[in-house]
Amino acid sequence: MSEEALFEYLHMEIVKTILQNGEILGETKDDCINKLEWIGFRVGQSVIERMTKDTPKFKDELETMKYICKEFWSSIFLKQIDNLRTNHQGVYVLQDHRFRFFTNISSGKQYSDSAPMYIGLTCGILRGALSNLGHNCDVTAEVVQMPSCKFQIEMKK
């Protein structure tokens, strides 16, 4: 069971290192979040290749999103996405009520400014996974009330 904690600690340290290096190099917070996103992108590509090795082909975009919300999310974050909404025109909103990386941070207003740093990597993982499945998209995240967060995925044509 210590494997779960390992990923969380590693993630915290990655964010901290990128932030510290960013301060030394004079980078903005956005640059740091960008770096984290690209790290996540490469991770997402590799993870999805391994995971979909044995799964049958997806029928369409919606089925791919359902797979992401169920199997993919459970294998990384140990739970499924709680809410998936779509406008059937390429925009999907995934809502996680208890985001794994926020459960260790207090849910008050105190840390809501730093919250975006902790979702950057996950946005990248989502984008990398979808891009390897053939869907180019933009992923943005929104934190209204910790520990829940929303990911908005816009498929590019």
């Binding site: 490469r42 590509q45 590799s46 999805i48 290749e49 391994r50 979909t52 090795k53 799964t55 049958p56 082909k57 997806f58 029928k59 369409d60 390897n132 499945l133 053939g134």
Partner: protein, 151 residues
């Protein structure tokens, strides 16, 4: 026995090509690339048949198989194809006359290629989309080709 194995990327760019020595490589390249047309047809047909089903019905497993089977036989070679969920295509050319490879054997070979590819993606020094130069992948493919020549 396996004459040639090729890995082709999402945009149909060649990523890896390995053939048994002593073969006319240019001709093998040519045959592999003509297989791409057949692969595209098969994928389109598969998608069309899946979308034609009513949505509530479960999709029978053979329609969603990554293994495409025999693409087309020429007089000397048999070509087999396999498409992964990430749109990577693997093409396998087999000596049509002397080979006794069963369908199951070809499936098994493709699964090994897919596993080797997934392992290679995990290598941080490999960027997806660039041509494959990993020694480990190459050794795995070479061992596949030599082991298949026993049968």
């Amino acid at each position: 026995m396996a004459l040639c194995i090729a890995v082709i990327g999402k945009e149909n760019e060649p990523l890896y090509f390995q053939s048994v020595s002593g073969q006319d490589e240019l001709r093998l390249h040519h045959i592999v690339y003509t297989c791409l047309d057949v692969i595209e047809e098969k994928i389109a047909a598969m998608l069309a048949s899946i979308n034609a089903l009513p949505t509530k019905q479960g999709i029978p497993p053979e329609r969603r198989d990554p293994y495409l089977g025999l693409l087309y036989p020429t007089e000397d070679y048999k070509c087999f194809g396999y498409v992964t969920n990430s749109r990577m295509k693997f093409v396998l050319l087999i000596d049509g006359i002397r080979s006794k490879l069963a369908d199951e054997d070809v499936r098994r070979m493709f699964r090994r290629i897919h596993a080797a590819y997934a392992d290679m993606l995990a290598n941080p020094f490999y960027t997806p989309g660039e041509s494959i130069s990993s020694k480990k992948f190459q050794n795995e493919i070479l061992s596949l080709m030599t082991s298949s020549s026993g049968g």
